[in-house]
Symmetry: C2
Subunit: 241 residues, 2 copies
């Protein structure tokens, strides 16, 4: 089995965590490059070099980026699909792959909307410069968007969940729920129990031995205020209604 | 060749236009269901029925949605990849497919950020209720995000553009540039000429006979204030610097 090199920010979960979780759960050999010692070619400068100069003439848009031999792949959902197809972790059938991928791309949308709760005006400004707008955006997210996403995933992912056929989509859903619980504990405590199939998926994935071992290890970074899912107490809102 | 049914909002280009453009350019037989007469099962109610009740037990997240025999596929980038793989419009090679798809997902990001220029606080509120924030968000977009996207596409898509091997990604890039020119004519007039390879791609794709015929037809809807790329004069900003 080939070794994948993962390039991602070394101090946060972020979008890279969806890739780490797949590698860890599937037992795929990988190196988290920027978390290696600087003297071994690691550190954040290894990531910045790839982002600025590219690899073999290819300049990726943004991390997470994986490099394997001469191949360079980025965009989270694309990385997950690429690795899963390459490693035989999804069915060979085109329609089966499309059905999985549309769920993953909706998780991508969810992640992006969660990011925008604390950065509604621009990703180029600090959270501190858009706190008033973040409060407005978060209330809208909690009231309207979160319920819509959870209902969709309950219906399409929870309902079709098969513990013996876990894919990158189930793993990403687990990670997304973990993140939502970290960022919005009050709203999630109120809402998640109304989604029994999604709750069952979350519990079932969490119990997978390799994933559980990863979560208990030092390799798993905590959720923090640099990632996508940020535990800001002032944005831990309840639904208005 | 099978007939694809496209379900999308009948009065706007939006994300559905990326799918229409692929079908039209490739000469693929499709029905734009919601734009058919109501008495033939068309109209916006046909779209709403699929969104609310699903098809054959499958409830999609959002349009564009395509239905083909028993198969239901959504998420724009996923639809484009699915149709292109199914119709043999992309190479069979996994890595070649991933390289295309990561560019398409970055176009998805661009489209989403353009949407958020006029809806920074929430997609659930009217533009009129977030105009002040939209002005802030648009200035940030024009100053920081648009140049970053264009530079990336110039390097990765313009530089590798082959007029004889146009894929869904080139077509989407053409449509994105059309949209950016409609929404931000002043910024694009200033910035696009600095991207000669992207400009050449745009011109080359526009000259393709089937695409040109589509654009000249009644099937091509104009950009308007219901779509993603909205010609709001007050948001047609120039770069600050």
């Amino acid at each position: 089995m080939p070794t994948y090199q993962l390039y991602y920010w070394p101090v946060l979960q972020g979008r890279g965590e969806f890739v780490r979780v797949l590698f860890e759960d599937a037992g795929i050999d990988y190196v988290d490059v920027a978390r290696q010692p600087t003297e071994n070619g690691g550190g954040v400068q290894a990531l910045l070099a790839v982002m600025n100069d590219g690899i073999g003439g290819v300049v990726p848009y943004a991390p997470p980026i994986i490099v394997m031999e001469e191949q360079v792949v980025w965009q989270t959902a694309n990385v997950l699909q690429f690795v899963s197809r390459r490693e035989g972790l999804v069915p060979d059938d085109l329609y089966a792959q499309a059905r999985l991928h549309q769920l993953q791309l909706t998780i991508t949308d969810l992640v992006s909307e969660v990011h925008d709760t604390h950065h509604p005006i621009s990703t180029g400004l600090y959270y501190e410069d858009q706190k008033a707008e973040a409060l407005l955006a978060t209330q809208q997210f909690i009231d309207h968007r979160l319920p819509k996403f959870l209902r969709h995933f309950e219906l399409n992912l929870g309902a079709s969940f098969e513990p013996d056929a876990v894919t990158y989509v189930d793993l990403s859903m687990w990670q997304a729920i973990e993140g939502l619980k970290a960022a919005f504990p009050r709203a999630m405590a109120k809402t998640l129990p109304d989604h029994p199939k999604l709750s069952a998926l979350h519990a079932s994935v969490a119990a997978r031995p390799r994933l559980a071992a990863y979560v208990a290890s030092e390799r798993r970074l905590p959720f923090n205020e640099d990632g996508i899912f940020r535990p800001y107490p002032e944005l831990d809102l309840l639904p208005s209604a």
